[in-house]
């Protein structure tokens, strides 16, 4: 493998982050917050597709994968909604306007918004799983006439854990978007549905034979949701899920995110369910 080989001489280093400035940090729930980032250099934020993610680096602390949760029609900023769970995400939570983070990306596969043209769409999410689907909702609403029925089903632990409350309210006022929210545990001020998100599926209106489903949430929740969708007579090849695994590089070198033959960072995170069904039921894969 000499220099004259097929490899280009100047390779960009995919492991080096670019600096981005925090423009806003907004509290969403007791443990989730949304960061709006702008590139520090003049050359703009990279375009992305709904479902893709970035690696976000906090100086001296570490780097984690986070889905892009902003509107793809506003590519000048990067928006990420993060749940503070450990070292890096808690450090991110402490950042405010003017602070700098490192960003690599965008990486990974996208929600099949294009395949949904002429079809119904049902989105089923749980917890922080709404964040990676928000860009898909925005994109679909921007071309609403190309899609048939559209349902967004969302489950949160408690009313306090509901993300994007205001925006969900706006979406709900669109007469052609069915927004249904359920909580696992209700508090006194909650008048909505109580129970797991799967109970919303049969209430939603869509034609199972002509629908694209996009599912994101904890693996166990996705398992039940997929089962329910299939019970409603959806086909496995019309269901898409987003997978999560430990990730150190996001470019297929570190090996951590392997899911059978797939690297979740490159071949995922969004998979067609029929392509990974044989793995989905296995333990410790």
């Amino acid at each position: 493998m000499r220099k004259e080989s097929h490899l280009v001489e100047e390779t960009v280093d995919p492991m080096v982050p670019r600096p981005f400035v925090v423009r806003e940090s907004r509290e969403e729930t007791r443990d989730a917050f949304t960061l709006t980032l702008e590139p520090q250099e003049a050359n703009g934020a990279p375009a992305f597709e709904p479902g893709q993610f970035n690696m976000i680096y906090v100086f001296g602390v570490g780097e984690v994968p986070v889905s892009i949760s902003g509107d793809p029609r506003q590519p000048e900023v990067l928006v990420h909604t993060v749940r503070a769970v450990g070292g890096v995400t808690r450090a991110l939570q402490k950042l405010g306007p003017g602070d700098i983070v490192g960003v690599r990306g965008p990486f990974g596969s996208a929600w099949p918004v294009d395949k949904a043209k002429g079809k119904d769409v049902v989105i089923v999410t749980g917890g922080i799983g709404l964040a990676p689907l928000r860009p898909a909702v925005c994109q679909i609403l921007g071309q609403r006439e190309k899609i048939g029925k559209f349902a967004l089903l969302y489950g949160a632990r408690t009313p306090k854990d509901i993300l994007y409350r205001e925006q969900l309210g706006q979406w709900r006022s669109n007469l052609d978007l069915q927004v249904r929210v359920t909580v696992d545990n209700a508090t006194r001020d909650w008048y909505g549905t109580v129970g797991v998100v799967t109970i919303l599926i049969h209430k939603a209106r869509f034609d199972p034979a002509n629908t694209i489903a996009m599912v994101c949430g904890p693996e166990i929740m996705m398992r039940f949701v997929v089962q329910e969708l299939i019970k409603e007579r959806m086909r496995e090849q019309d269901i898409y899920i987003s997978m999560e695994r430990n990730m150190k590089c996001a470019v297929g070198f570190c090996g951590h995110c392997q899911y059978g033959p797939n690297f979740i960072c490159k071949d995922g995170p969004v998979f067609r369910f029929s392509d990974v069904r044989h793995l989905f039921g296995l333990r410790e894969i």
């Binding site: 493998m1 000499r2 220099k3 080989s5 490899l7 390779t11 960009v12 280093d13 995919p14 492991m15 080096v16 982050p17 670019r18 600096p19 400035v21 520090q40 680096y57 100086f59 001296g60 602390v61 570490g62 780097e63 769970v85 450990g86 003017g98 602070d99 700098i100 490192g102 904890p218 999560e244 695994r245 430990n246 150190k248 590089c249 470019v251 297929g252 070198f253 570190c254 090996g255 951590h256 392997q258 059978g260 033959p261 690297f263 490159k266 044989h278 296995l282 333990r283 410790e284 894969i285």
Partner: protein, 373 residues
């Protein structure tokens, strides 16, 4: 094919050094033959050989003065192309933010002397991983482009070798600059040399060589044919991808897991295993931070950690991941097997777990479908 006499062998060192290469090759250290910097011929393990079996490795004296009379040891060339610990970049606080500087050191030109054919195959595998996909690892690439590969054909495979099964040896064929075959006939000690590249040709042209006479090619062929027939182990690789994909719940995984210590020796010794983790460090002032990449192993519990739990909690899950990756999913990922048949994971496993035996056991106990056409 050319001939270099043993008493001129030091000239190869001279020429490589004059061409600016740091020579890396086999040398005896702490009762094992490892790859390290070589000053001259005297650093080679002259007159030594090795004995290998599951969980066993031992060096011993030969009754001749062969320079390459052993096979592969605990180290592989991977540590020179993809170092066990490597700085990826550093960052410095500046104003309210920080600036990142990529690590751009230009590595020295290295000549690998004594690369075995299974190891050439392993290097080709890692080339695909780090340079063959949509992303290229500039750290690996920079080192790799500056490497001269001098291979040695294997005349004496050992107890854990199975390159023939994996189609990677014992003769070093492609992807090399120079190949050598060591010949000892009574008092006569010499090497057959061939070049495999323009760079190799240049080196050859500066050595005191003789032309090989007719008939001598036959001697080399016979030697390597003999080696072919003396593999320590064998693996039936027919349809192996399906075999493993179809058997994630085979009882053999439990049996392997009962023995496996999850020590990660196999992954460290394997010349193709490439998994890594990163370490973020900052200095006491908090002004300077660095990111380092370190070899990692799918045998560690933390490897599969995600918030809420580790995906592969059991040794069974980890052993299955490792072996299925090596022999099956690797093919889907990189279009090649992840195992080149070098035998390191067998010799260096403290429990003596043998990948060829594991495959055999899974194959032997197949549900009916294996019988169907």
């Amino acid at each position: 094919m050319k001939i270099l006499e043993r008493n001129n062998f030091h000239r190869l060192f001279d020429v490589l050094k004059e061409s600016g290469f740091d020579i890396i090759g086999p040398t005896l250290q702490d009762q094992a033959i490892v790859y390290d910097h070589l000053e001259g011929v005297e650093d080679l393990p002259e007159g030594w050989t090795d004995e290998q079996a599951p969980g066993k490795y031992r060096v011993k004296k030969r009754n001749d003065k062969a320079l390459f009379g052993y096979v592969v040891g605990p180290t592989s060339w991977k540590k020179f192309l993809y170092p066990p610990r490597q700085k990826l970049w550093s960052a410095q606080k500046a104003g309210s933010g920080f600036e990142v500087a990529a690590e751009e050191g230009v590595p020295q030109k290295m000549a690998f002397l004594g690369v075995r054919s299974c190891e050439l195959a392993a290097i080709a595998v890692q080339d695909k991983i780090f340079c063959g996909g949509s992303f290229v690892d500039p750290h690996y690439k920079k080192r790799r482009e500056n490497v001269f590969l001098a291979a040695v054909n294997c005349a004496e495979p050992k107890g854990t070798c199975f390159c023939v099964s994996m189609n990677t040896g014992p003769r070093a064929l492609g992807g090399l600059d120079l190949s050598l075959t060591e010949m000892i006939e009574g008092e006569r000690h010499y090497f057959f040399l061939r070049s495999g590249s323009a760079e190799g040709e240049k080196v050859l042209s500066r050595l005191p060589l003789k032309d090989a006479e007719g008939g001598q090619q036959k001697k080399e062929d016979a030697l390597l044919e003999e080696a072919r027939r003396h593999m320590g182990r064998a693996m039936d690789t027919r349809d192996i991808k399906r075999l493993l994909y179809d058997n994630p719940d085979h009882p053999q995984w439990d049996k392997a897991a009962e023995r496996c210590l999850s020590c990660a020796n196999c992954t460290m010794a394997c010349p193709t295993c490439f998994c890594s983790t990163v370490e973020d460090v900052s200095d006491l002032t908090g002004e300077h931070a660095e990111r380092w990449r370190k070899w990692d192993s799918c045998f560690s519990l933390e490897f599969s950690y995600i918030h809420g739990g580790n995906v592969r909690q059991s040794t069974k899950g980890r052993y299955r991941q490792w072996m299925t990756h090596k022999l099956a999913s690797w093919q889907d990922q990189f279009g090649t097997s992840g195992c080149v048949g070098c035998g390191r994971c067998i010799s260096w496993c403290p429990a003596g777990i043998d990948i060829t035996e594991e495959v055999k056991a899974i194959r032997a106990d197949q549900p009916a479908r294996a019988e169907s056409p």
